[in-house]
Symmetry: C3
Subunit: 153 residues, 3 copies
């Protein structure tokens, strides 16, 4: 199993468009995202996000928050724990919450998931995006599951 871990943020004229722009900023704006819950195979390999085919069906774990309240601080966090037998992903978001606190929470939740399964964490990666809303903004962080069908070329 191969994954890429990405994040992005942007403003837009509507909530939908801000969200779409944030996805494009993360490099996953031109595909169909299918949200899955949050488990990884063992020894998952982390790659740079390749160029994806337009309209491809792409499985992902998606953390996203959008706000149209000027001044709001919005944060989307993904925590990824990798183990020999399996891995776990946690996504969390916050509005006007300290990004460091959200990251800490996400780490604790994913550590608990791995401990509960008796799997040692070989690597713990956190990806996040945070922004202060000007007019309408969106932030996203995502684990993208890669396979040959969805990669361009």
């Amino acid at each position: 199993m191969k994954i890429a871990i990405v994040s992005g943020s942007d403003e837009g004229p509507t909530k939908l468009n801000a969200f779409d722009n944030a996805l494009s900023d993360a490099g996953i704006g031109d595909v169909n995202l299918i949200k899955v819950s949050s488990m990884l195979a063992g020894n998952v390999e982390i790659n740079e996000l390749p160029k994806l085919k337009a309209g491809a069906m792409v499985n992902c774990v998606l953390s996203e928050i959008t706000s149209d309240v000027s001044g709001d601080e919005i944060t989307a966090v993904i925590a990824v724990a990798i183990g020999e037998e399996l891995g776990c992903v946690v996504e969390t978001t916050g509005k006007n919450k300290d990004a460091d606190d959200l990251i800490e929470e996400a780490k604790m939740m994913v550590e608990y998931m791995m401990e509960k399964r008796g799997v040692e964490i070989k690597e713990l990666i956190v990806e996040y995006s945070t922004a202060t809303v000007s007019k309408i903004a969106s932030v996203v962080a995502s684990v993208v599951y890669l396979n040959d069908d969805i990669i361009e070329g």
Copy 2:
């Protein structure tokens, strides 16, 4: 990539059943719908909805709204922009909002998405369903992604 664009509406004895009846009215009541976000490959081909296999796993963009308030006007809209390199879909819904306004909003959002990607719109299609609730009603509009696995016969 081939798609079908459908819509439907119906009443039912519960919200769940009204929604299910509206899906059946749209011709997609007997399959498993997997909601995806809203991108199309380039030069997508629009087909009539074929007969789908019962229980097939069908990717779709789904716009739906259900209400149990007698007299509510409910509307579900899908706007589909087709381009050479890729296409975009927007879904929006409204309760007691003018259907024409909702359609206009959906068109503006999808036009913005295409412009942002620098892709010229070759065709822009709007599909919508609107109803005044008698007891419990649901309206749906959907872009259904077609492939040979899900088509009967």
Copy 3:
């Protein structure tokens, strides 16, 4: 088409972890769940849940409810109607509602769906999970769609 019908419940230190623990209790904690709407092929075969591959992409109908209010009674119900030509699944949940009432509602909704389609019910199965919340608890009931790709070994 082969399915398994499972349920589970557990407490946890956060809502996310309680939900994850309930999924593990149901035997589907180590896979990626993709939620689908609720149709079955004809003459679906019901199996025991096999050992699933860690991180596999698993289609399912999922009924789940999580609460952090001590004393809350939470219930997740799945009703599965099997027929010759197709089958239907209904999921419903309740907080501080009588489990028997919820089961009755789910049965009525799935019976209506089958009747509306003119398909005779050969078998009607209900699976549910109910719990009284101590600190933070989650209950789940699920129809899991099985295929060789997701089964271990």
